[in-house]
């Protein structure tokens, strides 16, 4: 074990010092992830630019309608009216970012000035904190705009006053003075509200950019937003990066397998392999050291790429356990692929040529270039032959497919199987060719 460890450390050191080789295993896959990620998503990040939400149509009235109309004026939101029962599952599947329900129990649109509080229910995944804050700002803005339009609606005011007068009349003269007082109180309340709105509006335009992402920002105390946690079970990738990062990991694995298989041939042609065989270590230790180095490297690079995807490009993780298993299984798989490739020729040129040819085909049919979902069905069925397909599937299962154990076990088993069988066959061929 000690010797294997020394051998692995040596190989990792050698690869680390080969800067060009390093580009292929780290830089190139990252470029693939970013390049295709931004191509597939149109322009930049899709999630930040537009948010698809449902507006709940269960209890519609003119006030609710006018609020939704206001909300729809935002360029950021794409509204789909639907009943609550349809909206909730769509949010849970991640197809909609949230649903918004405006609950208004007032009889008149102008009751909002009479101390009556409308309230809003938002259903959103608790992990989508940024979106929730953003949405909150937009809701407040819409509510405020709705109020403002009421103020300038003179007809509406007169209708309101008329309604009020009628209600005094019906109650009777004995109460007139008391009701008159009431009316002035109400008017006072309105003016007070208008004042609040004015000052809030001034505040808002001062710090517009901050306020939208501020969850607690509320220009109008009357707006009462309640949140309902709708935990999302991802049913699709949230962004194109959730497709391209699993692909990019495959490219890193391919490059790592190419680099290490080449290093085996280089050791054989350069004679260092001979020196290793003269040393008091077994052949299994020598090849095990290679395998170990390749495995450590694969897992390291994959973890690094995934960290970039998660931390910078918002790739989500449905199950950390499965993600770790997928990365480990991918590493094992490519150790086997690496061993097989290393015996495909006796010279560096032969092995590197054969290796890239084989792996490019593997990547092509396995969805490493074009995502499987875009492929014609005949190609999809061939793709089962490529370990790349299983590697991507395992990663996607842990990122956005929300795989359970039963679904994860197949791709993981295929990857580990390819790794073990490849390592055994490669080792056997290598032993035989050394005479």
């Amino acid at each position: 074990m000690g010797a294997m460890f020394h051998l692995a450390i040596k190989d990792l050191k050698l690869l680390w010092r080969d800067k060009v080789g390093f580009f292929w295993v780290l830089g190139f896959p990252l470029l693939i992830a970013l390049f295709f990620g931004s191509i597939y998503s149109g322009a930049g990040s899709a999630t930040a630019r537009s948010m698809k939400i449902a507006v709940i149509t269960d209890n519609m009235n003119p006030t609710v309608q006018s609020f939704y109309d206001q909300l729809g004026k935002s360029d950021v939101l794409v509204l789909t009216p639907m009943p609550l029962d349809s909206a909730r599952p769509l949010v849970a599947q991640g197809k909609l970012a949230a649903y918004v329900q405006y609950i208004d129990s007032s009889k008149s649109a102008f009751d909002m000035f009479s101390g009556h509080k409308p309230h809003i229910k938002v259903g959103i995944d608790p992990s989508r904190k940024a979106e929730a804050g953003y949405l909150n700002g937009l809701l407040n803005q819409a509510f405020f705009m709705q109020l403002q339009s009421r103020f300038t609606d003179v007809k509406g005011w007169r209708r309101y006053l008329k309604d009020q007068r009628q209600s005094w009349d019906s109650i009777g003269t004995g109460w007139n003075s008391k009701l008159g007082m009431d009316f002035f109180e109400k008017l006072d309340g309105v003016l007070e509200s208008a004042e609040k709105i004015d000052s809030a509006y001034a505040m808002k335009s001062d710090s517009a950019s901050d306020s939208v992402s501020e969850k607690n920002y509320s220009p109008f105390a009357a707006l009462d937003v309640a949140y309902e946690d709708v935990a999302v079970i991802w049913a699709g990738p949230r962004s194109s990066f959730e497709i391209t990062f699993p692909q990019s990991l495959q490219w890193a694995l391919i490059a790592a397998a190419a680099a290490f298989s080449l290093s085996i041939v280089t050791e054989r042609t350069r004679g260092t392999f001979l020196r290793l065989r003269i040393a008091p270590i077994s052949r299994m230790q020598i090849l095990g050291g290679k395998g170990l180095a390749c495995f450590i490297f694969c897992v390291g690079v994959c973890s690094l790429l995934m960290a970039v995807g998660i931390l910078i490009f918002g790739v989500g993780v449905a199950s950390w356990t499965y993600l770790i298993l997928a990365i480990l299984a991918g590493g094992i798989c490519f150790v086997g692929v690496m061993m097989l490739i290393s015996v495909m020729g006796k010279t560096e040129a032969a092995v590197s040529g054969a290796g890239w040819a084989v792996m490019l085909v593997m990547a092509m049919i396995g969805g490493g270039m074009m995502p499987l979902m875009f492929m014609p069905s005949w190609l999809k069925s061939i793709s089962h032959l490529s370990p790349i397909k299983w590697g991507i599937l395992a990663l996607e299962g842990s990122i956005w497919r929300g795989f359970g154990f039963g679904e994860m076990i197949l791709p993981l088993a295929v990857l580990v199987g390819v790794g073990v069988v490849g390592f055994i066959i490669g080792t056997m061929i290598l032993s035989r060719s050394d005479g």
């Binding site: 010797a3 020394h6 050698l14 004679g271 260092t272 020196r275």
Partner: protein, 312 residues
């Protein structure tokens, strides 16, 4: 300066350190090693002298057990299987191809190979230092090997074989492609290693090297050993006669009996006792303008044995 702990632990119990018996190895139709036998006593430098393709490297590979013989056996200190771990620890081999990592420094190469032999800590550091001294690479110890000259790489290639302080050293053409200065340095080091008490196998196709370094030499061609022995005994048995080349003053006295025809004023003849013949001619009144006597050497031995020169 040189200490050999492992050496004494080896427990030498046989007179011959390496014994090769009827060894055979063919690659397809090529009989690379064809029924070779020799014995190398303890603390000797044994030379395998032969032209390209003679089977020297194959013999070395058979001795260390990295290729399997078709027939015959190899015994190291009386033990038969050279792949046994405790025997491997006592053998150091510098392959003919430069078997070092270009992207590691000299120090890192030595440390890496040392670790494979179980060295660590202070002991490893000492050995690495010792080897860097031996290879004359102390001042370049941290430079990547890729930036070294051919001679420096050769010296490191040899040093990597000694880092674990083995009592048996197999050096396969350790001077290929080096300048005379590096070559002299390598010779000095090999002599030093021998004076330490090591047993050394040295392959070469330079007869001068064999003549300078080796106690015994086996001349090998087409996988067979043509002759084996000390240098003197080889020359005596296979070197043939010495050659005398002289330019004489003309005319030559008539009573002087020349052993060969004159070519203008030049006389050239072979003799088993050249000095006596020269003196006898001088007594008869022959006057020499110039005189050169060539003693037979290993080159001559090879020529006599094969009808070919060592190098074409």
């Amino acid at each position: 300066m040189l200490k050999h702990e492992t050496w004494h632990k080896f427990g030498r119990n046989k007179l011959s350190m390496i014994r090769v018996t009827n060894l055979k190895k063919a690659f397809g139709a090529i009989r690379a090693v064809d029924d070779i036998s020799f014995e190398i006593p303890d603390n000797q430098v044994f030379g395998l002298l032969g032209p390209n393709g003679a089977g020297k490297t194959t013999t070395i590979n058979l001795i260390v057990g990295i290729i399997n013989a078709d027939a015959g056996s190899v015994a190291i200190n009386g033990e038969n299987d050279p792949t046994r771990t405790h025997l491997r620890r006592r053998i150091g081999a510098a392959p003919q191809a430069l078997a070092i990592y270009d992207n590691l420094s000299a120090e890192e190469n030595l440390a890496f190979f040392g670790k494979l032999y179980g060295l660590s800590g202070k002991k490893l550091k000492e050995r690495v230092d010792w080897c860097l001294d031996l290879a004359g690479l102390q001042d370049r110890r941290r430079d990547r090997v890729g930036k070294y000259s051919g001679g420096m790489k050769r010296r490191l290639n040899m040093a990597c074989a000694i880092v674990h302080d083995p009592p048996i050293l197999l050096l396969d053409e350790p001077t290929v492609g080096v300048d005379p200065q590096s070559r002299n340095m390598i010779f000095d080091r090999i002599e030093m290693l021998k004076n330490d008490g090591r047993t050394i196998v040295y392959t070469t196709h330079y007869m001068e090297e064999a003549q300078r370094l080796c106690d015994r030499v086996a001349i090998i061609d087409h996988g067979k050993i043509l002759a084996e022995g000390t240098i003197d005994s080889l020359i005596e048995t296979h070197g043939g006669m010495g050659t005398v080349n002289a330019e004489l003053e003309l005319p030559v006295p008539e009573n002087a009996k020349l052993p060969a025809e004159l070519n203008e004023n030049r006389l050239s003849f072979e003799s088993s006792q050249p000095l006596q013949d020269i003196a006898a001619l001088a007594d008869a009144g022959v006057k020499y303008r110039s005189l050169r006597v060539e003693r037979p050497n290993l080159e001559k031995v090879f020529l006599n044995l094969t009808g070919r020169r060592l190098r074409d």
